[in-house]
């Protein structure tokens, strides 16, 4: 069943008009673009691609696209800083695209929000790991790269199950104590988000 609070990732649609196209791609997110265009696509002449490989190896393929501008960032954080700098002078005739893990897309959405861009205006495609960032509802601490539920909160040590409830603002799922009613029970963790 779809998670209603989760952002909707409709996938890349490259046919919408704009004067300028800005792509922020993380890891396997590069494939969202590579699978849709070949180097002759006319939009590439108006496109800027920011890419953070994080272990993947699509850099050469992107270079071959010969976009108007291409930047490989050593980390997603550096990529997002550059993204922010570009947005600070961009115009409304610009279309934004984000692809990669859920956490990366969420971070890009929050950067764009600072420049008055709504999440619904950004073209998104989810690629790569399903690992979740989870906020403990009890101590409010964040837990990164969660693959199994339940798990122990790294901050307050409570045993949390991952609720299918996602906050874009926090860029995290909600973790809730799984054995609050019967504290002596510790259900076996299940690997759900590889």
């Amino acid at each position: 069943m779809a998670i209603k609070s989760r952002p909707i990732y409709n996938g890349f649609d490259l046919e919408m008009p704009a004067q300028r196209h800005i792509f922020v791609l993380e890891g396997e997110g590069a494939l969202a673009l590579l699978e849709k265009v070949n180097p002759s696509h006319p939009m590439l002449g108006q496109s800027e691609i920011l890419y953070s490989p994080v272990g993947s190896s699509h850099e050469q393929a992107i270079v071959k696209l010969n976009a108007a501008n291409f930047f490989t960032a050593p980390s997603s954080e550096i990529l997002l800083n550059r993204f922010a700098a570009i947005l600070s002078t961009a115009t409304m005739s610009t279309r934004l695209y984000a692809a990669g893990t859920e956490g990366f897309i969420g971070a890009a959405v929050n950067v764009a929000a600072r420049y008055g861009v709504k999440s619904a205006s950004i073209v998104k495609e989810h690629r790569g790991s399903l690992r979740r960032r989870v906020q403990c509802v009890h101590c409010k601490g964040f837990n990164s790269d969660i693959t199994a539920s339940p798990f122990h909160c790294e901050h307050c040590k409570l045993y949390l199950f991952v609720r299918d409830h996602f906050s874009t603002r926090l860029n995290a799922f909600q973790g809730v104590c799984v054995n609050a009613e019967e504290p002596h029970l510790f259900p076996e963790p299940v690997e759900l988000y590889q």
């Binding site: 509802v137 906050s167 909600q174 009613e181």
Partner: protein
């Protein structure tokens, strides 16, 4: 109405009690002998005297004690009251609306005097007497929303309307049924309702959203929602679930009548004039099963409703563990006869 405020607690020794008058005015949520999730919206118009609907913003005998419990919750966890920065106009709209309705309905308890933007607010039950300038944050001890919500029963959400949706952008939530304002703040209508089972598939939220976006100034709407709570605890927050969750396992055949409570939410929906936002007061009313059993019609109906609730809903409302015990408790009150229409006690 002559209100006699009770002094009682919603934690530790749980001294909360309803007077016989409070039982009779309880907004019993079941209008028929079976239950299904529905929007059940109606105009929020003044109802009969002696009911919780008599005034659009209801103040009852628990007022002082509820406000004391709220203050305790906020002391421990200030994140229960939050407003995104663009909601300041809506905060003032909210303060005005609550002050006007409380002072009109209960002139003995509350007084609002206004001369253009100069306001004088007197809250006698809580011993508050403040002069402030409407629209000037620096003339109040708190931001306007927190100021008035520390003096108003129930939880409150202020939602902004834009992009064809509603956004949970401010609120005071200290007596909620298992949801976290701190987590949900900034979410759209569909996002914050995501954890509710079944209703999405039935298209209920699409219709509810459309209805709410068209709520007009001067014409508020309301609906009832309900859940069950072990002990008369107001703060059944997810934040503190690890502290109160184990209470759910303490219900027995012997103590269920005093321990298990029906918790009815009277939700109303108001268009705010200057901000075009909506105010959702969520007013909760607690009643023990023993108290319900003093009204034969309600006790009979409880038995039938509890039997027909779908399992996922019982699970979501957090009482599947104690459901059978509750059904057994009410079974002797079910005389097999048809109950009279509506939710009135007779």
């Amino acid at each position: 109405m002559d209100l006699k405020f009770t002094t009682e607690t919603y934690r530790d020794d749980f001294s909360f009690r309803n007077s016989p008058e409070a039982i009779r005015r309880y907004p019993f949520p079941f209008h028929a002998d079976s239950y299904m999730y529905a929007i059940n919206m109606e105009d929020h118009v003044a109802g009969k005297p002696g009911t919780a609907y008599e005034h659009p913003i209801d103040v009852d005998e628990h007022y002082i004690s509820e406000m004391a419990d709220r203050a305790l919750v906020l002391k421990e966890d200030p994140l229960r009251c939050q407003a995104l920065s663009h909601m300041m106009t809506a905060q003032w709209d909210t303060l005005e609306l609550l002050m006007i309705h409380q002072s009109i309905a209960y002139p003995d308890l509350f007084t609002l005097e206004r001369d253009k933007d100069k306001c004088h607010w007197i809250n006698r039950p809580l011993g508050i007497d403040d002069k402030f300038i409407f629209g000037d944050r620096s003339t109040l001890p708190y931001e306007p929303m927190e100021y008035i919500m520390r003096q108003s029963q129930g939880d409150f959400c202020i939602v902004d309307q834009r992009d064809n949706s509603l956004w949970m952008d401010a609120g005071m939530v200290t007596c909620q049924a298992d949801w976290s304002l701190d987590f949900d703040i900034g979410m759209s209508f569909m996002e914050w309702h995501a954890p509710v089972p079944m209703a999405h598939e039935l298209g209920i939220f699409d219709r509810a959203l459309k209805f709410l976006m068209n709520v007009q100034q001067g014409r508020p709407a309301r609906r009832l929602n309900w859940t069950m709570t072990v002990n008369p605890r107001l703060d059944t927050s997810p934040e503190n679930y690890h502290k109160w969750g184990s209470e759910k396992t303490t219900v027995t055949k012997e103590n269920i009548g005093a321990k298990l409570h029906l918790r009815c939410e009277l939700q109303s929906f108001w268009r705010l004039p200057r901000s075009n936002a909506l105010l959702f007061p969520i007013r909760q009313y607690l009643i023990s099963l023993n108290d319900i059993a003093t009204i034969p019609k309600w006790a009979c109906r409880m038995h039938r409703v509890l039997k027909t609730i779908p399992d996922p809903l019982a699970e979501y409302k957090g009482f599947s563990r104690n459901r059978q015990l509750a059904i057994d408790f009410f079974a002797p009150f079910d005389n097999g006869q048809e109950t009279t229409k509506g939710a009135d006690p007779e």
